[in-house]
């Protein structure tokens, strides 16, 4: 029977071209949406590497009374030091730190090293005071955090995440104490020595792609360019009203600076809304498209059944039962769907072959493919249920005289 259905479907491929095309388009749309959903779902469930709860970020604008840059930097760092010290004296503040690029921030600083053995390694760089790790509860999984004694070293201590450690020194190698191969920048850069390793620091948030990360320790020395923000960890349950008290205190400590305080929880909400909105919009558009395709399929199949009334009558006369007719229509539809899926597969398989959408790893691709195939088969089966039911109810005596 399967061979018989295959023969019919194959011999009617020209008249089934419209359905095959609809299946192909639906498959591509479903694949795109499912792949993006799986990609984001997996990212969402990866460890962030930090805890955003009870952390507030304080952005500031430095007043520029000083005209000389060196004097301005020195004054700013002095103020920052004072602010950090004073903040930690406030009751709900557990820890305070300064740094660049807190979580849920798009901006970043990055480097590309061409290593001596010809590899190209990209990493994002975060400069922060040693307390940054405590504020964000970033766990050191090997080695140690930054220490005050590090300031005296002729080399720059750095902390890397696992992926960067694997890229720099090889999978499974212990990075602690090793010097980063600066390659083309060797002559101009200070030696970077790894003192610690963290699991991750996904600055871009839950939906961001994991990336190489390197932390460089910063001490608020008068000559260095000031850091751009303060971050504080608060005791759990600190009320939002504390923001007012905090702002007053900050303004009192540095009246020439302007401050804005925002919790990471609020930043995260805004970030997720921003990232999920286009995904939801794409999903709604895709769902609408698939609904249209489903209605189209039901219509085309309905017409197809009507055109095949005589054939149905003949099959019933020759011994086909109602379930036989039902399964014949359903089976043919699934085979037509298979033809569309074969074409769709030829299209989507180009994605990994051509290296497009490189962020889609093979397992995400495979899972998205499998889910899309199941969705399309379900869609085809659901769409053919009513037409096949109609076909099965055709009375053979009437059907044989249908014109």
């Amino acid at each position: 029977m399967i061979r018989h259905m295959l023969q019919i479907v194959w011999n009617r491929k020209a008249s089934n071209a419209l359905i095959i095309l609809e299946i192909l388009v639906s498959f591509l749309v479903v694949f795109a949406v499912v792949a993006m959903a799986i990609f984001n779902w997996r990212n969402y469930h990866r460890p962030l590497g930090y805890a955003w709860e009870d952390v507030w970020q304080i952005n500031f604008r430095i007043g520029d009374r000083e005209f000389d840059a060196a004097e301005r930097h020195a004054a700013a760092n002095r103020t920052l030091e004072r602010l950090l010290r004073e903040l930690e004296t406030m009751a709900p503040v557990v820890r305070a730190a300064a740094g660049h690029y807190p979580p849920y921030t798009r901006s970043s600083s990055s480097r590309n090293w061409d290593t001596s053995d010809g590899r190209d390694i990209f990493t994002e760089i975060i400069e922060a005071t040693p307390e940054f790790f405590e504020v964000l509860d970033i766990r050191i999984v090997a080695g140690r955090g930054f220490e005050a004694a590090d300031a005296a070293h002729p080399w720059q201590p750095v902390i890397v995440n696992r992926t960067l450690a694997a890229d720099l020194f090889g999978e499974g190698e212990d990075p602690i104490g090793k010097t980063v191969d600066l390659g083309n920048m060797k002559s101009t850069e200070t030696e970077l020595r790894v003192v610690g390793m963290i699991d991750d620091y996904r600055k871009g948030g839950e939906l961001a792609v994991p990336s190489n990360m390197m932390f460089e320790a910063v001490w608020l020395e008068p000559t260095r360019r000031p850091l751009s923000l303060l971050a504080i960890r608060l005791a759990p349950g600190t009320p939002a009203a504390f923001e007012e008290e905090l702002s007053k205190r900050l303004n009192a400590l540095a009246p020439e600076w302007s401050f804005s305080v925002r919790s990471l929880a609020a930043k995260r909400d805004a970030y997720l809304r921003l990232r999920l909105a286009p995904l939801l919009a794409a999903a709604v558009v895709a769902a609408f498209l698939i609904l249209m395709v489903a209605l189209g399929l039901v219509g085309v199949l309905w017409q197809n059944v009507t055109q095949r009334t005589l054939e149905v009558g003949l099959r019933r006369a020759k011994g086909a039962t109602r379930p036989n007719i039902h399964w014949q229509i359903l089976g043919e539809m699934l085979m037509i769907a298979s033809l569309g899926l074969v074409l769709g597969t030829l299209v989507v398989v180009q994605v990994p072959l051509m290296g497009w959408l490189s962020f889609l790893d093979l397992s995400t691709f495979g899972l998205a493919f499998a889910v899309s195939v199941v969705v399309i088969y379900c869609l085809a089966a659901i769409c053919s249920l009513y037409p096949s039911w109609l076909a099965a109810r055709i009375q053979p005596a009437e059907a044989l005289h249908y014109e």
């Binding site: 011999n11 003949l314 099959r315 020759k318 036989n324 005289h401």
Partner: protein, 221 residues
């Protein structure tokens, strides 16, 4: 082989009631070749549908090989049609997108049978009707006579006890019609298949063992 007792067939709509057959009583013995004649609309095809278990009478009984079928389920009726009855139609009813041999295989699809055996039996049926050289052709590549021979091969491939032919020569010229009639006679004589044929042609009816005449849904002889 086929017995109809006090059979009536009435088609009802909201406003109209049409009596297609009334008080039909007949018995067809195994191995008979019976023709049914009558003007258009007299109920010939309805009678054939009832004999072929494609329709059920409004009143009365139909028996096939002694089995009273009025209480049979769709599945059981389908099995009876598949195993005991062959149909030949005026317009052949071949499936255009299937090859000749695939068309002939259709009744065997609804039996538990391996593909190889199905194919062998279809080829044997085609050889019986003289179309061994056309097995992979499509219906549109055949003449009307050849198409009807394919339809006969399809009707006999399951070795039915009864063959019901609804104006099998109606769409053929006289020589092709004679060819088809010769084939039906051969089947009746050699295999002992019971044949019931609807026809408008007195000449062809005269060549059958018995002629049943209908007028306005009633037997007139």
């Amino acid at each position: 082989m086929i017995e109809l007792q006090d059979v009536e067939k009435i088609y009802r709509t909201d406003r109209i009631e049409t009596v297609a057959l009334a008080n039909v009583n007949l018995e067809i013995e195994a191995g008979e070749f019976v023709s049914i004649m009558g003007p258009s609309g007299c109920g010939k095809s309805t009678l054939l549908n009832l004999m072929g278990l494609l329709d059920v009478p409004s009143e009365g009984y139909v028996r096939l090989a002694g089995e009273s079928v009025e209480s049979y389920s769709d599945r059981r009726l389908s099995r009876l049609r598949n195993q005991r009855i062959g149909f030949v139609f005026q317009t052949f009813h071949l499936i255009a997108d299937l090859s000749v041999v695939a068309n002939v295989e259709i009744p065997l699809l609804y039996r538990r049978m391996r593909g190889r055996e199905r194919r062998q039996r279809a080829l044997a049926a085609l050889e019986q009707v003289g179309l061994s050289s056309r097995v992979h052709h499509f219906p549109s590549q055949l003449s009307g006579g050849q198409q009807q021979r394919v339809a006969i091969a399809r009707a006999i491939v399951g070795e039915p006890d009864v063959l019901l032919a609804d104006e099998p020569t109606g769409n053929l010229d006289s020589s092709m019609g004679d060819e088809v009639m010769a084939m039906l006679h051969d089947l009746n004589n050699r295999a002992g298949t019971t044949i019931v044929m609807v026809t408008h042609d007195e000449r062809l009816a005269g060549r059958t063992g018995r002629t049943l005449r209908l007028f306005d849904g009633r037997q007139v002889n």
